[in-house]
Symmetry: C4
Subunit: 218 residues, 4 copies
């Protein structure tokens, strides 16, 4: 199973198993951070849940983000022959932010419920959440770029598709950095901007493919 050329400490299987374990734990811990009703809240449980709807939205966004990080990581590693120390090193900030995501999600959810009373705190919480997601996306994008540059991929890997994925992740990552910056002006608007993420992803993928076709023709 271990490819013969893998160097000690750089076996693909153990690195991806470790990343998967941390992703699985972080994704499950997200639910530990959901708002818990006190005894008196049970009289109007619907009202309580409705009042914390932003915490549930934050939970769903973070869940989808960790799920898609896992999907890209899985798909990338399935196409690699070996790992380089640089690819491994990129796991360090990525996993650090995966681990921090439940914390950022919890603070974002709580701050949104208190947005009117604490506007400055709300803006910082939104920026922290957007920043965490942004760096996660950028790490994922750079990991694909590095793997392609250092030719770590298998001979039969779909290089075009991997390159498209890299552009998509880097592009979405930069978009999230911009939304983090935008919280300085309007923190309330930012979560609505995030809804555009899938559209931006599809747009980048198309642009990359069109450019590739044009380049092939000329």
């Amino acid at each position: 199973m271990t490819s013969p050329e893998s160097r000690p400490g750089l076996t693909r299987e153990r690195v991806s198993a470790f990343a998967d374990a941390i992703l699985a734990i972080a994704i499950t811990l997200l639910a530990l951070e959901l708002p818990r009703p006190e005894a008196e809240d049970f009289r109007d449980l619907g009202g309580f849940l409705g009042g914390h709807v932003s915490a549930f939205v934050a939970f769903a966004v973070a869940f989808l983000m960790l799920w898609s990080i896992w999907r890209v990581h899985h798909s990338l590693f399935d196409q690699l022959d070996r790992l380089s120390p640089a690819v491994l090193l990129l796991h360090l900030p990525m996993l650090l932010l995966v681990v921090l995501l439940p914390y950022a999600t919890s603070i974002f959810g709580e701050a949104s419920a208190l947005a009117e009373d604490a506007a400055a705190g709300h803006a910082l919480a939104v920026a922290m959440f957007a920043g965490t997601e942004a760096v996660l996306l950028l790490c994922q994008g750079f990991m694909i770029v590095l793997a392609l540059r250092q030719r770590l991929h298998r001979p039969d890997a779909d290089v075009d598709r991997l390159a498209t994925n890299a552009w998509v992740y880097l592009g979405i990552g930069i978009f999230w950095v911009l939304t983090a910056v935008m919280t300085a002006w309007s923190a309330e608007l930012v979560p609505f901007l995030w809804l555009a993420t899938p559209l931006i992803g599809v747009g980048i993928a198309r642009a990359v493919r069109i450019r590739r076709t044009l380049a092939a023709r000329s």
Copy 2:
């Protein structure tokens, strides 16, 4: 170990390892949600535990449900040759609800202890718990249906048994949906209805087998 035809990002082993990890973590986190006695509760610890018996019942129900989800998933994946994007996509709602189950279990357990004071909250908590379980069961059932339809199974797979399992899971899932709806009339009765789950499962399995025998004769 990886079958030659598995596409990148669709390797059976890594998908089932990720699902297993999330199931294992969620099943263990269930115990974190059990009611903790305060210092003064230790004078009558038996009374405290007895007063929260519904939380322990909810814990046991959720534990059995996650265990059986793991069993079916394990048994299905052992008989698959490859995965399709559709089967993978069904993991998204399934794992989301696995992750939410400890939260729903905790709210159900607490609401049951306060049922008399907060009847409306209690009904909502029971409905949330039943709904979470229902969608989990339906996802599991649809996953088997999809795997059979898309012929992802190995040549030697026991197709009849898988089909029976699919009917059982879909049937039980619909039963849990109905109990979630029933909380609008009588939330206290619903947990007793759940006890019928194994009977309904056995009944559906028998009905499917009888129908199959009749179809084979004609």
Copy 3:
């Protein structure tokens, strides 16, 4: 890797990976239950930690117990060719109690710190902890007995050693049941009895070997 005769849903690797994951999570969650100092406790942190020494002892006992459960499970499964539904079913109570152990440990640790004020609660907490450990040990012992009876082991398995292990685990399990019963008379004494566990284990192992030698001679 999967032996050819393993039936779907009974592959050794996935069952042991799931059990290992639950054991790893439960062993790590033990530390979440340790007593946390409040801001005012930091003025005399040594005193705070000393006042909760029983919680740290309970943590260490539970850690060692889960570690040794993992060791026996690992050693047993390495010698099995295949699994039977009965062996799989024994995992259900075993894993349920593994999941409950951090809870029982936390209650035992807290009750011990309050032993003087709440003697009845203390006795119940000690009995719960001892009972959880006892059933864990008995499940592990019965699992080995079943594997040997159903001849699930590999041709080259060390049957004598496995049988000795089974006797040791069943014997220690019964000893812990007895200590759980003894809490009705003297809950304070029981934790000191537990210290005899390694001695009892060694004693049973020796007795089994002597009897085997005698039986071989006659």
Copy 4:
């Protein structure tokens, strides 16, 4: 995958999977211990986070330590042919301290925020954190020493590099023991000393290589 000579209960894969799982869980639980703002803290969230900066530094130090423990373990186990009972036994204190590290990190972070009011508690908390890290490093170093002494490594293992790693880990471990002792005089200074850890590591690695070159010449 399992090398033919591996004895039951000593398979490299399952031991490293168990260690990895515990490391992954402990590293993720670190974030659960981060200080959570109360509703009123959201008015000055930046001030709240700034006031608890020591908790975030402690989180980062513990994260890096667990990551590097995982790296060394991974790299060592990739070069081993088989395990010995002694190497396995060293996992017991190592994993115990991995599990305790989130607890020690949390107490260190909180104590640092209260350092002025509770100097004695602060010193003890710093010593506990340093001691936990020190024993972790020493266990890791001794594990490499043992593996080399008992010749558990593969024929193609880079013995010189493993030996260098052992010296580095033992040396850094002793340095952390010394910083734990130093808290008796000046607990505030100790965290700054920790920053020298990478320098000391590089220094030891160089010294070992120089000595080896000199020994090869003579």
